[in-house]
């Protein structure tokens, strides 16, 4: 459609010149951002995509589903509408993201063949001329093209069609050339003879880390994230990524973090080149840590945090910090394990249970309204007689959070049964006014 025609159809249409060079540059910047955030092998897939090799990276983001939705949300937050798909091959993920994702899609391992069967040929990353030619011949879907003999098609359209088909179905490998910029600190080592043994890899890893630390020291930086890439002889990549909670330049610690995960590497027929990159580096200056003027500080545990974080995911390591809220489930907040210590704690004059149920469980009670604890209650099919009780501790809703909480009230009681088991139960509502809550009873926690 010509621009003048579009302007005639829509009032106040803003027309801008296409700038492919700037687009490509922005895509490159986006790829760098994804490299620092998600996985060691990332490349721009012009004109409109990013390709990320997420092997071994998804568990750090809570699994493939969560990783994709997190990714899409993050893009949406910065004004980019994105769709994402995960598959065994670049080709299948490319097709899935553009034709099926809504907005995310996870293609199960080895299922790409069934999924992309019914997609149009345009999903195959082919030249538009070839797509048009196939359409003229009566082919509409990938399944139809894959089902006919290759030779006549290759004679007519060249080898490109067969190659793209094989790549999408995983019959030939397709390496992703990872994006790198000059300001990333990278050291590499090529081998005359390919290496494969774990001990050899560990030895050269230690040497590379030493080289990297020397470069980092010259620049006054410390690594927050390092990627070790293995170029295999069959022209594919394997990678190890290690992150740290604070900037690190200690060669021993970095080596330990990386060699911890060597068993995840499949050397295949051998490794030709190893390259180590500090994907994310932060300034690190020397500071005095031991002095006789102050008490000996607690031992530094950041090394342990790094090891555990790389093993099970950094977001599964946390500390709890107090939040000024009377609602029990809102009074705690997860913070990073190495976050600075505020020295605050919860007010300690009300009893709090050791175990807090994520979802308060409804219980059946016999209780006098408005302000008596129950005489007995039934939880999970067991009836318990209340021997002693304390309360109520009244918790008001937080009207600044939600309108519905404007008049909401919870009355908490600590009750003890005949056997001495102590529970934290509450009644939704103040026992007099029905608008303050349903007057149902719930069990919220278990005391020690």
């Amino acid at each position: 459609m010509a621009a003048t025609k579009a302007q005639a159809l829509v009032t106040n249409l803003v027309v801008m010149d296409a700038d492919p060079a700037a687009d490509a540059e922005a895509l490159e910047r986006l790829a760098l951002w994804a490299l620092q955030r998600y996985a060691p092998i990332v490349a721009a897939d012009p004109p409109d995509g990013l390709v990320i090799d997420t092997t071994g990276a998804d568990h750090l983001h809570g699994g493939e589903d969560l990783m994709l939705s997190g990714m899409v949300n993050r893009f949406f937050g910065s004004g980019i509408e994105a769709r994402a798909a995960v598959a065994d091959t670049w080709g299948a993920a490319h097709a899935g993201a553009r034709f099926l994702a809504h907005p995310t899609l996870v293609i199960a391992p080895c299922a790409q063949e069934d999924i992309i069967q019914n997609l149009p040929i345009a999903a195959l990353r082919l030249d538009p001329a070839i797509v048009h030619g196939l359409r003229v011949l009566g082919f509409n879907t990938i399944g139809e093209v894959a089902g006919v003999p290759r030779a006549p098609l290759a004679l007519r359209f060249g080898p490109e069609l067969g190659r793209r088909l094989d790549q999408a179905l995983g019959k030939t490998v397709e390496p992703i050339d990872p994006v790198r910029t000059p300001d990333l600190i990278e050291v590499r080592r090529s081998f005359g003879e390919p290496i494969a043994a774990a001990e050899t890899i560990a030895r050269y890893t230690a040497k590379l880390v030493l080289m990297l630390c020397r470069v980092l020291e010259e620049k006054g930086l410390g690594a927050r994230r390092v990627d070790l890439l293995f170029h295999r002889v069959d022209n594919t990549y394997q990678a190890i990524r290690a992150g740290t909670a604070t900037p690190v330049r200690d060669a021993k610690r970095l080596t330990r973090l990386i060699t911890d995960r060597i068993e995840t590497i499949d050397p295949g027929f051998g490794i030709e080149i190893m390259s180590l990159t500090a994907t994310h580096a932060e300034p690190l200056v020397a500071s005095q840590i031991i002095s006789s003027l102050v008490d000996e500080p607690d031992a530094d545990v950041s090394g342990l945090i790094d090891i555990l974080g790389n093993r099970i995911g950094a977001r599964r390591l946390y500390r709890f910090a107090p939040v000024a809220s009377d609602v029990p489930e809102r009074s705690i907040n997860r913070i990073a394990p190495m976050a600075p210590d505020e020295g605050q704690t919860w007010p300690g004059h009300w009893p709090r249970p050791v175990r807090l149920l994520v979802h308060p469980e409804p219980i059946e009670t016999m209780a006098l309204l408005p302000d008596h604890p129950p005489v007995s209650f039934t939880w999970r099919g067991v009836r318990r007689r209340v021997r002693r009780a304390d309360g109520p501790e009244r918790v008001f809703g937080e009207w600044w959070k939600r309108d519905a909480e404007l008049v909401a009230v919870r009355d908490y009681f600590q009750v003890e049964d005949d056997a001495g088991e102590r529970y934290w139960i509450y009644r939704a509502g103040d026992g007099e006014h029905s608008e303050t809550g349903s007057h149902q009873w719930f069990l919220h926690g278990i005391f020690g």
Partner: protein, 253 residues
């Protein structure tokens, strides 16, 4: 209990055994409960730092592990340094731990996906050596994995506490299986301390020392930890026990 024999041969033998066991320096230090009746039952007069201790709940506590967690928090609160708390089910409520003296800035939680990962995290924490205590909540603890934890604890002198917590009551019989832990405790709830007014008093527990290496088993009735993490004997027991009366008599007479 018999008094230690002042014999050169015996003390030399003891030293040799200690050398053979290989526990050195911090591994031989102990963390006393501060309650004489409990401490004198434990070899060395307290919980040894470089070793693994097991705590389980009795009755319904085998499933919710509430009292066992609070008992362990009290011990961890009195240790020095940060505490690594490994869980698979995140239902621990941090304000309650702060009430027994374990401040939120000291506890680092690890949410492991399964028990295998949890054991690996515990072992890593025990090997590090800079932590005050490593606590893990787990259901299954085999001889092999407990021995790994015990060796890791011995090598660094960090105390390991395994809170045994099962999904079903029937699985709690697993607690009878042997492990390499040095002590094994069971904490069951008792009716709380009576008050002159209506209300719930300080929590009381029946703490059973089921197994103790180089010691004998015993059980104690104690009050739950205070704001510094110290458990105490109920006052009527302190004043009423025959030992206390004998001591008082000897002091006056």
């Amino acid at each position: 209990m018999s008094r230690p024999v002042d014999n050169i041969v015996v003390s030399a033998l003891r030293e040799r055994i200690q050398r053979l066991e290989g526990t050195s320096g911090r591994g031989r230090q102990v963390l006393p409960f501060g309650v004489v009746e409990i401490d004198r039952r434990l070899p060395g007069g307290g919980l040894t730092l470089g070793s693994l201790h097991e705590v389980a709940g009795g009755g319904n506590g085998a499933i919710d592990g509430a009292a066992a967690a609070l008992f362990s928090a009290g011990i961890a609160a009195r240790s020095k340094g940060k505490v690594l708390w490994c869980v698979t089910r995140p239902d621990l409520f941090a304000p309650a731990l702060a009430q027994v003296g374990l401040s939120p800035s000291r506890v680092i939680y690890v949410e492991a996906g399964d028990e295998k990962a949890l054991l690996a995290c515990m072992e890593e924490g025990l090997r590090h050596g800079g932590l005050g205590a490593v606590v893990g909540e787990l259901a299954r603890l085999s001889m092999t994995s407990s021995r790994r934890l015990q060796l890791a604890a011995e090598s660094s002198g960090t105390m390991g506490i395994a809170i045994r917590r099962w999904r079903r009551q029937a699985e709690a019989s697993d607690f009878g299986q042997p492990t390499a832990s040095v002590t094994r405790w069971r904490v069951s709830v008792l009716p709380s301390a009576p008050l002159p007014v209506p209300g719930v008093g300080r929590a009381r527990w029946l703490v059973e020392l089921i197994r103790c290496r180089a010691g004998e088993s015993a059980d104690f009735e104690v009050e739950a930890p205070d704001a510094k993490g110290r458990i105490a004997l109920p006052p009527e027991l302190v004043h009423g026990s025959p030992e206390a009366q004998a001591r008082r008599r000897s002091a006056t007479g």
